[in-house]
Protein backbone atom coordinates (compact mmCIF):
# COMPACT_ATOMS: atom_id res chain seq x y z
CA UNK A 1 0.00 0.00 0.00
CA UNK A 2 2.79 2.41 0.92
CA UNK A 3 4.45 1.62 -2.41
CA UNK A 4 1.26 2.24 -4.35
CA UNK A 5 0.66 5.59 -2.63
CA UNK A 6 4.25 6.68 -3.23
CA UNK A 7 3.91 5.81 -6.91
CA UNK A 8 0.50 7.45 -7.32
CA UNK A 9 1.14 10.66 -5.37
CA UNK A 10 4.69 11.09 -6.67
CA UNK A 11 3.50 10.46 -10.21
CA UNK A 12 0.57 12.83 -9.76
CA UNK A 13 2.82 15.68 -8.57
CA UNK A 14 4.99 15.21 -11.67
CA UNK A 15 1.93 14.98 -13.91
CA UNK A 16 0.59 18.28 -12.53
CA UNK A 17 3.97 19.94 -13.06
CA UNK A 18 4.07 18.60 -16.62
CA UNK A 19 0.56 19.85 -17.37
CA UNK A 20 1.41 23.32 -16.03
CA UNK A 21 4.66 23.39 -18.03
CA UNK A 22 2.95 22.40 -21.27
CA UNK A 23 -0.23 24.43 -20.95
CA UNK A 24 1.49 27.65 -19.87
CA UNK A 25 4.51 26.92 -22.13
CA UNK A 26 6.92 27.36 -19.24
CA UNK A 27 10.61 26.77 -19.31
CA UNK A 28 11.38 23.58 -17.27
CA UNK A 29 13.80 25.50 -15.03
CA UNK A 30 10.98 27.87 -14.13
CA UNK A 31 8.65 24.97 -13.27
CA UNK A 32 11.33 23.58 -10.95
CA UNK A 33 11.60 26.94 -9.17
CA UNK A 34 7.81 27.28 -8.89
CA UNK A 35 7.49 23.75 -7.52
CA UNK A 36 9.87 24.36 -4.63
CA UNK A 37 8.11 27.59 -3.75
CA UNK A 38 4.70 25.95 -4.03
CA UNK A 39 5.87 23.18 -1.69
CA UNK A 40 7.05 25.78 0.82
CA UNK A 41 3.73 27.61 0.77
CA UNK A 42 1.68 24.40 1.05
CA UNK A 43 3.90 23.33 3.92
CA UNK A 44 3.27 26.48 5.92
CA UNK A 45 -0.47 26.07 5.34
CA UNK A 46 -0.13 22.59 6.91
CA UNK A 47 -1.24 20.99 3.66
CA UNK A 48 2.00 19.27 2.68
CA UNK A 49 2.58 17.47 5.98
CA UNK A 50 -0.51 15.25 5.58
CA UNK A 51 0.60 14.41 2.04
CA UNK A 52 3.95 13.19 3.38
CA UNK A 53 2.09 11.07 5.96
CA UNK A 54 0.12 9.36 3.19
CA UNK A 55 2.71 9.10 0.43
CA UNK A 56 6.10 9.11 2.25
CA UNK A 57 8.74 9.14 -0.49
CA UNK A 58 6.06 10.02 -3.05
CA UNK A 59 5.79 13.45 -1.40
CA UNK A 60 9.35 14.01 -0.12
CA UNK A 61 11.29 13.03 -3.27
CA UNK A 62 9.68 15.55 -5.71
CA UNK A 63 10.88 19.16 -5.44
CA UNK A 64 7.83 20.49 -3.53
CA UNK A 65 9.08 18.16 -0.79
CA UNK A 66 12.31 20.14 -0.80
CA UNK A 67 10.35 23.34 -0.11
CA UNK A 68 8.47 21.49 2.65
CA UNK A 69 11.75 20.42 4.28
CA UNK A 70 13.04 24.01 4.19
CA UNK A 71 9.90 25.37 5.89
CA UNK A 72 9.68 22.62 8.50
CA UNK A 73 13.38 23.09 9.26
CA UNK A 74 12.89 26.83 9.71
CA UNK A 75 9.83 26.42 11.93
CA UNK A 76 11.57 23.83 14.09
CA UNK A 77 14.61 26.08 14.35
CA UNK A 78 12.34 28.95 15.37
CA UNK A 79 10.78 27.03 18.29
CA UNK A 80 14.24 26.23 19.58
CA UNK A 81 16.19 29.40 18.79
CA UNK A 82 13.81 32.16 17.72
CA UNK A 83 14.64 34.19 14.65
CA UNK A 84 18.25 33.00 14.47
CA UNK A 85 17.06 29.41 14.74
CA UNK A 86 14.62 30.05 11.90
CA UNK A 87 17.40 31.40 9.70
CA UNK A 88 19.67 28.47 10.40
CA UNK A 89 17.03 25.74 10.35
CA UNK A 90 16.19 25.67 6.63
CA UNK A 91 19.51 24.69 5.17
CA UNK A 92 20.26 22.50 8.17
CA UNK A 93 17.27 20.36 7.30
CA UNK A 94 18.20 20.25 3.61
CA UNK A 95 21.92 19.84 4.15
CA UNK A 96 22.23 16.14 3.25
CA UNK A 97 20.65 16.36 -0.21
CA UNK A 98 22.43 19.63 -1.05
CA UNK A 99 25.80 18.28 -0.01
CA UNK A 100 25.30 15.06 -1.95
CA UNK A 101 24.25 16.91 -5.10
CA UNK A 102 27.14 19.38 -4.96
CA UNK A 103 29.80 16.80 -4.11
CA UNK A 104 28.44 14.51 -6.83
CA UNK A 105 28.76 17.36 -9.31
CA UNK A 106 32.35 17.94 -8.26
CA UNK A 107 33.59 14.36 -8.08
CA UNK A 108 31.71 13.06 -11.11
CA UNK A 109 33.01 15.92 -13.24
CA UNK A 110 36.53 14.70 -12.46
CA UNK A 111 35.85 11.37 -14.12
CA UNK A 112 33.06 11.84 -16.66
CA UNK A 113 32.51 13.91 -19.79
CA UNK A 114 29.18 14.96 -21.30
CA UNK A 115 28.11 12.56 -24.05
CA UNK A 116 26.07 15.17 -25.92
Amino acid sequence: MAYLMAFLIGGALCAVAQAITDLLKLNPALTMVLSVSAGAILSSLSLYGPLVKVASAGATVPLPGFGHVLVQGMLEGATEGGFIGLMAGGLKAASLVLTIAILAGFFLSLFFNPKG
Binding site: K25, P28, A29, P114, K115, G116
Partner: protein, 338 residues
Protein backbone atom coordinates in the same frame (compact mmCIF):
# COMPACT_ATOMS: atom_id res chain seq x y z
CA UNK B 1 22.93 35.49 -74.40
CA UNK B 2 21.62 38.92 -73.47
CA UNK B 3 23.62 40.89 -70.96
CA UNK B 4 22.24 40.62 -67.45
CA UNK B 5 21.88 43.96 -65.62
CA UNK B 6 23.98 44.14 -62.47
CA UNK B 7 21.10 45.51 -60.48
CA UNK B 8 17.56 44.19 -60.69
CA UNK B 9 14.89 45.93 -58.66
CA UNK B 10 15.63 47.04 -55.14
CA UNK B 11 17.43 44.11 -53.58
CA UNK B 12 18.67 41.79 -56.29
CA UNK B 13 22.00 41.68 -58.08
CA UNK B 14 22.59 39.84 -61.36
CA UNK B 15 25.90 38.40 -62.48
CA UNK B 16 26.91 39.20 -66.04
CA UNK B 17 29.50 36.43 -66.00
CA UNK B 18 27.95 34.03 -63.53
CA UNK B 19 30.54 32.50 -61.20
CA UNK B 20 30.58 28.69 -61.29
CA UNK B 21 30.52 26.44 -58.26
CA UNK B 22 33.56 24.27 -58.86
CA UNK B 23 33.14 21.93 -55.92
CA UNK B 24 31.21 21.48 -52.70
CA UNK B 25 32.41 19.38 -49.76
CA UNK B 26 30.30 18.19 -46.87
CA UNK B 27 31.30 16.77 -43.50
CA UNK B 28 28.80 15.71 -40.84
CA UNK B 29 28.29 13.81 -37.62
CA UNK B 30 26.89 10.32 -37.02
CA UNK B 31 23.27 11.41 -36.58
CA UNK B 32 23.32 13.20 -39.95
CA UNK B 33 25.17 10.21 -41.43
CA UNK B 34 22.26 7.99 -40.41
CA UNK B 35 19.75 10.36 -42.04
CA UNK B 36 18.32 10.19 -45.55
CA UNK B 37 21.28 12.07 -47.06
CA UNK B 38 23.90 10.12 -45.12
CA UNK B 39 25.26 8.17 -48.08
CA UNK B 40 25.72 11.37 -50.09
CA UNK B 41 27.97 13.09 -47.55
CA UNK B 42 31.67 13.32 -48.36
CA UNK B 43 32.77 12.49 -44.84
CA UNK B 44 30.83 11.21 -41.85
CA UNK B 45 32.70 11.42 -38.56
CA UNK B 46 31.94 8.68 -36.07
CA UNK B 47 32.31 10.77 -32.95
CA UNK B 48 31.00 14.30 -32.45
CA UNK B 49 34.26 15.20 -30.67
CA UNK B 50 36.32 14.13 -33.72
CA UNK B 51 39.19 13.30 -31.37
CA UNK B 52 39.32 16.86 -30.00
CA UNK B 53 39.18 18.00 -26.39
CA UNK B 54 36.12 20.21 -26.78
CA UNK B 55 33.11 20.38 -29.07
CA UNK B 56 34.16 23.85 -30.15
CA UNK B 57 37.48 22.46 -31.37
CA UNK B 58 35.63 19.60 -33.02
CA UNK B 59 33.44 22.04 -34.94
CA UNK B 60 36.47 24.02 -36.17
CA UNK B 61 38.18 20.80 -37.16
CA UNK B 62 35.16 19.59 -39.15
CA UNK B 63 35.06 22.96 -40.89
CA UNK B 64 38.75 22.64 -41.71
CA UNK B 65 38.17 19.13 -43.11
CA UNK B 66 35.37 20.46 -45.30
CA UNK B 67 37.60 23.23 -46.67
CA UNK B 68 40.47 20.84 -47.38
CA UNK B 69 38.14 18.30 -48.99
CA UNK B 70 36.59 21.00 -51.16
CA UNK B 71 40.02 22.08 -52.42
CA UNK B 72 41.02 18.45 -52.97
CA UNK B 73 37.85 17.69 -54.96
CA UNK B 74 38.62 20.66 -57.23
CA UNK B 75 42.28 19.67 -57.40
CA UNK B 76 43.28 23.12 -56.14
CA UNK B 77 45.89 24.38 -53.74
CA UNK B 78 44.88 26.88 -51.08
CA UNK B 79 47.31 29.59 -52.27
CA UNK B 80 45.30 30.05 -55.47
CA UNK B 81 42.18 30.97 -53.49
CA UNK B 82 42.04 34.72 -52.95
CA UNK B 83 39.32 34.95 -50.32
CA UNK B 84 37.84 32.69 -47.70
CA UNK B 85 34.39 33.80 -46.54
CA UNK B 86 33.17 31.90 -43.49
CA UNK B 87 30.82 32.14 -40.54
CA UNK B 88 29.17 30.00 -37.87
CA UNK B 89 26.92 30.24 -34.82
CA UNK B 90 29.41 30.48 -31.99
CA UNK B 91 30.27 33.67 -30.16
CA UNK B 92 32.64 35.82 -32.24
CA UNK B 93 32.44 33.12 -34.98
CA UNK B 94 35.35 31.28 -33.42
CA UNK B 95 34.91 28.07 -35.43
CA UNK B 96 35.55 30.01 -38.63
CA UNK B 97 38.46 31.99 -37.22
CA UNK B 98 40.23 28.91 -35.85
CA UNK B 99 39.68 27.14 -39.16
CA UNK B 100 41.05 30.19 -41.03
CA UNK B 101 44.09 30.17 -38.74
CA UNK B 102 44.91 26.72 -40.10
CA UNK B 103 44.25 27.17 -43.84
CA UNK B 104 46.00 30.50 -44.43
CA UNK B 105 43.66 32.05 -47.01
CA UNK B 106 42.78 35.78 -46.69
CA UNK B 107 39.72 35.66 -44.46
CA UNK B 108 36.42 37.53 -44.46
CA UNK B 109 34.40 36.53 -41.39
CA UNK B 110 30.65 36.96 -41.64
CA UNK B 111 27.76 36.42 -39.25
CA UNK B 112 24.37 35.55 -40.67
CA UNK B 113 23.49 32.70 -38.31
CA UNK B 114 21.97 29.91 -40.42
CA UNK B 115 21.74 32.17 -43.47
CA UNK B 116 25.54 32.12 -43.74
CA UNK B 117 25.66 29.78 -46.76
CA UNK B 118 23.67 31.98 -49.10
CA UNK B 119 25.09 35.19 -47.61
CA UNK B 120 28.57 33.84 -48.30
CA UNK B 121 27.75 32.63 -51.81
CA UNK B 122 26.16 35.99 -52.67
CA UNK B 123 29.24 37.88 -51.45
CA UNK B 124 31.63 35.49 -53.19
CA UNK B 125 29.73 35.80 -56.47
CA UNK B 126 29.78 39.60 -56.23
CA UNK B 127 33.52 39.59 -55.54
CA UNK B 128 34.19 37.29 -58.49
CA UNK B 129 31.82 38.98 -60.93
CA UNK B 130 33.27 42.31 -59.83
CA UNK B 131 36.65 41.06 -60.97
CA UNK B 132 38.29 41.12 -57.55
CA UNK B 133 39.05 37.43 -57.39
CA UNK B 134 39.23 34.30 -59.51
CA UNK B 135 38.64 31.80 -56.73
CA UNK B 136 36.65 32.33 -53.52
CA UNK B 137 35.87 29.73 -50.88
CA UNK B 138 32.71 29.90 -48.77
CA UNK B 139 32.55 27.77 -45.62
CA UNK B 140 30.22 27.34 -42.69
CA UNK B 141 29.62 24.97 -39.82
CA UNK B 142 27.35 24.17 -36.91
CA UNK B 143 27.48 21.62 -34.11
CA UNK B 144 24.55 20.40 -32.08
CA UNK B 145 26.45 20.34 -28.81
CA UNK B 146 28.20 23.71 -29.15
CA UNK B 147 24.88 25.32 -30.06
CA UNK B 148 23.02 23.56 -27.23
CA UNK B 149 25.45 24.71 -24.55
CA UNK B 150 25.62 28.24 -25.94
CA UNK B 151 21.93 28.85 -26.60
CA UNK B 152 20.10 26.44 -24.29
CA UNK B 153 21.00 23.98 -21.52
CA UNK B 154 23.92 21.71 -20.66
CA UNK B 155 23.72 18.73 -23.04
CA UNK B 156 23.14 16.20 -20.25
CA UNK B 157 20.28 18.20 -18.71
CA UNK B 158 17.09 16.15 -18.96
CA UNK B 159 14.73 18.65 -20.52
CA UNK B 160 11.92 17.99 -22.94
CA UNK B 161 11.84 19.93 -26.20
CA UNK B 162 8.57 21.38 -27.50
CA UNK B 163 7.40 20.22 -30.96
CA UNK B 164 8.41 23.56 -32.50
CA UNK B 165 12.05 23.02 -31.47
CA UNK B 166 14.64 22.13 -34.11
CA UNK B 167 17.77 20.02 -33.96
CA UNK B 168 21.05 21.78 -34.81
CA UNK B 169 22.98 19.94 -37.51
CA UNK B 170 26.48 18.77 -36.63
CA UNK B 171 28.41 19.36 -39.81
CA UNK B 172 30.32 21.66 -42.09
CA UNK B 173 30.19 22.60 -45.75
CA UNK B 174 32.66 24.34 -48.04
CA UNK B 175 31.88 25.72 -51.50
CA UNK B 176 34.48 26.82 -54.04
CA UNK B 177 33.39 29.47 -56.56
CA UNK B 178 35.37 30.56 -59.58
CA UNK B 179 35.31 32.55 -62.79
CA UNK B 180 37.88 30.24 -64.36
CA UNK B 181 35.73 27.37 -65.67
CA UNK B 182 33.06 27.43 -68.34
CA UNK B 183 30.81 24.58 -67.19
CA UNK B 184 29.12 23.46 -64.04
CA UNK B 185 26.44 24.91 -61.76
CA UNK B 186 26.53 28.70 -61.60
CA UNK B 187 25.24 31.53 -59.46
CA UNK B 188 23.16 33.81 -61.68
CA UNK B 189 21.64 36.23 -59.22
CA UNK B 190 21.35 36.96 -55.52
CA UNK B 191 18.82 38.76 -53.36
CA UNK B 192 20.08 40.17 -50.09
CA UNK B 193 17.32 40.15 -47.51
CA UNK B 194 16.20 42.76 -45.00
CA UNK B 195 16.14 42.00 -41.30
CA UNK B 196 12.56 41.43 -40.19
CA UNK B 197 11.19 40.97 -36.68
CA UNK B 198 7.60 39.99 -36.10
CA UNK B 199 8.00 39.90 -32.34
CA UNK B 200 8.51 36.16 -31.83
CA UNK B 201 10.45 35.69 -28.59
CA UNK B 202 10.56 31.93 -28.17
CA UNK B 203 14.01 30.60 -29.07
CA UNK B 204 12.38 27.16 -29.28
CA UNK B 205 10.29 28.36 -32.21
CA UNK B 206 12.78 29.72 -34.72
CA UNK B 207 10.75 28.56 -37.72
CA UNK B 208 8.02 31.06 -36.84
CA UNK B 209 10.61 33.76 -36.20
CA UNK B 210 12.30 33.28 -39.59
CA UNK B 211 9.32 32.55 -41.88
CA UNK B 212 8.46 36.23 -42.55
CA UNK B 213 12.06 36.97 -43.62
CA UNK B 214 12.06 33.95 -45.96
CA UNK B 215 8.71 34.88 -47.50
CA UNK B 216 9.78 38.51 -47.92
CA UNK B 217 13.05 37.62 -49.64
CA UNK B 218 11.37 35.10 -51.98
CA UNK B 219 8.69 37.63 -52.87
CA UNK B 220 11.33 40.31 -53.40
CA UNK B 221 13.48 38.05 -55.58
CA UNK B 222 10.57 37.08 -57.83
CA UNK B 223 9.47 40.72 -58.15
CA UNK B 224 12.98 41.98 -58.87
CA UNK B 225 13.69 39.33 -61.50
CA UNK B 226 10.19 39.40 -62.97
CA UNK B 227 9.92 35.62 -62.68
CA UNK B 228 7.15 33.32 -61.57
CA UNK B 229 7.61 30.53 -58.99
CA UNK B 230 7.18 28.03 -61.83
CA UNK B 231 10.39 29.32 -63.40
CA UNK B 232 12.21 27.39 -60.66
CA UNK B 233 12.46 23.64 -60.22
CA UNK B 234 12.60 24.25 -56.50
CA UNK B 235 12.67 27.11 -54.02
CA UNK B 236 14.43 25.86 -50.92
CA UNK B 237 14.37 27.73 -47.64
CA UNK B 238 17.20 27.11 -45.18
CA UNK B 239 15.96 25.79 -41.87
CA UNK B 240 12.37 26.85 -41.31
CA UNK B 241 11.37 23.33 -40.30
CA UNK B 242 7.83 22.05 -40.61
CA UNK B 243 6.38 24.93 -38.61
CA UNK B 244 8.17 27.72 -40.46
CA UNK B 245 7.69 26.20 -43.91
CA UNK B 246 3.94 26.05 -43.39
CA UNK B 247 3.84 29.69 -42.29
CA UNK B 248 6.10 30.87 -45.13
CA UNK B 249 3.83 29.11 -47.66
CA UNK B 250 0.84 30.78 -46.07
CA UNK B 251 2.45 34.25 -46.12
CA UNK B 252 3.41 33.86 -49.80
CA UNK B 253 -0.10 32.70 -50.66
CA UNK B 254 -1.47 35.83 -48.98
CA UNK B 255 0.75 37.95 -51.22
CA UNK B 256 -0.58 36.15 -54.28
CA UNK B 257 2.17 33.59 -54.88
CA UNK B 258 1.34 29.89 -54.97
CA UNK B 259 4.46 27.84 -54.33
CA UNK B 260 2.78 24.46 -53.83
CA UNK B 261 5.12 21.70 -54.92
CA UNK B 262 7.98 24.16 -55.43
CA UNK B 263 8.65 25.40 -51.90
CA UNK B 264 10.68 23.04 -49.77
CA UNK B 265 12.94 23.35 -46.76
CA UNK B 266 16.49 22.07 -46.20
CA UNK B 267 15.62 21.49 -42.54
CA UNK B 268 13.26 18.69 -43.58
CA UNK B 269 15.87 16.81 -45.60
CA UNK B 270 18.59 16.03 -43.06
CA UNK B 271 16.82 13.73 -40.59
CA UNK B 272 14.15 11.10 -41.05
CA UNK B 273 11.03 11.29 -38.90
CA UNK B 274 12.17 8.33 -36.80
CA UNK B 275 15.20 10.38 -35.70
CA UNK B 276 12.83 12.60 -33.73
CA UNK B 277 14.04 16.00 -34.97
CA UNK B 278 10.76 17.67 -33.84
CA UNK B 279 10.13 20.52 -36.30
CA UNK B 280 13.24 19.76 -38.36
CA UNK B 281 16.96 20.40 -38.64
CA UNK B 282 18.60 23.79 -38.20
CA UNK B 283 22.06 25.30 -38.08
CA UNK B 284 24.47 26.85 -40.56
CA UNK B 285 25.45 23.45 -41.91
CA UNK B 286 21.84 22.49 -42.68
CA UNK B 287 21.48 24.26 -46.03
CA UNK B 288 25.17 23.72 -46.76
CA UNK B 289 24.78 19.96 -46.57
CA UNK B 290 21.67 20.01 -48.76
CA UNK B 291 23.52 22.15 -51.32
CA UNK B 292 26.45 19.74 -51.38
CA UNK B 293 24.55 16.44 -51.25
CA UNK B 294 21.51 17.22 -53.34
CA UNK B 295 21.42 20.54 -55.22
CA UNK B 296 24.93 20.69 -56.64
CA UNK B 297 24.98 17.12 -58.05
CA UNK B 298 21.51 17.53 -59.54
CA UNK B 299 22.37 20.88 -61.11
CA UNK B 300 25.59 19.41 -62.47
CA UNK B 301 23.81 16.40 -63.96
CA UNK B 302 21.04 18.55 -65.40
CA UNK B 303 18.17 16.98 -63.48
CA UNK B 304 17.61 20.41 -61.92
CA UNK B 305 17.82 23.49 -64.12
CA UNK B 306 17.21 26.36 -61.77
CA UNK B 307 16.80 26.49 -58.01
CA UNK B 308 16.57 29.28 -55.47
CA UNK B 309 18.37 28.64 -52.21
CA UNK B 310 17.01 30.90 -49.49
CA UNK B 311 19.00 30.24 -46.32
CA UNK B 312 17.39 31.76 -43.25
CA UNK B 313 19.02 33.07 -40.10
CA UNK B 314 17.70 33.93 -36.64
CA UNK B 315 19.93 36.75 -35.46
CA UNK B 316 19.32 36.67 -31.71
CA UNK B 317 21.86 35.93 -29.00
CA UNK B 318 21.24 34.09 -25.72
CA UNK B 319 21.76 37.42 -23.97
CA UNK B 320 19.23 39.31 -26.10
CA UNK B 321 16.63 36.61 -25.49
CA UNK B 322 17.21 36.73 -21.72
CA UNK B 323 16.78 40.49 -21.83
CA UNK B 324 13.37 39.99 -23.41
CA UNK B 325 14.22 41.05 -26.96
CA UNK B 326 12.38 39.37 -29.82
CA UNK B 327 14.19 37.44 -32.55
CA UNK B 328 15.27 39.43 -35.64
CA UNK B 329 15.62 37.29 -38.76
CA UNK B 330 17.07 37.49 -42.22
CA UNK B 331 16.99 35.42 -45.41
CA UNK B 332 19.29 35.66 -48.41
CA UNK B 333 18.47 34.08 -51.77
CA UNK B 334 20.92 32.83 -54.37
CA UNK B 335 19.71 31.63 -57.73
CA UNK B 336 21.63 28.56 -58.91
CA UNK B 337 21.42 27.29 -62.47
CA UNK B 338 22.76 24.13 -64.07
Amino acid sequence: MTAVPKRMGNQTVGFSQPPRILSVATVAGPREGAGPMGSLLDLVVEDTLVGCKTWEQAEASMLESAVNLCLKKANMSSDKVQFLIAGDLLNQIVSSSYMARQVGIPFIGIYGACSTVSEGIALAAMIIDGGFADYVLVATSSHHNTAERQYRYPTEFGNQRPPTAQWTVTGAAAILLTSQVKSGPMVTSATVGKVLDMGIKDPNDMGSAMAPAAADTIHRHLTDTGRRPQDYNAILTGDLGMVGKKIAGELLRKSGLDLDGILDDCGLKIYSGSQDPHSGASGCACSGLVLGCSLWPQLASGSLRRVLLVATGALHSPLSVQQGESIPSVAHAVCLEG
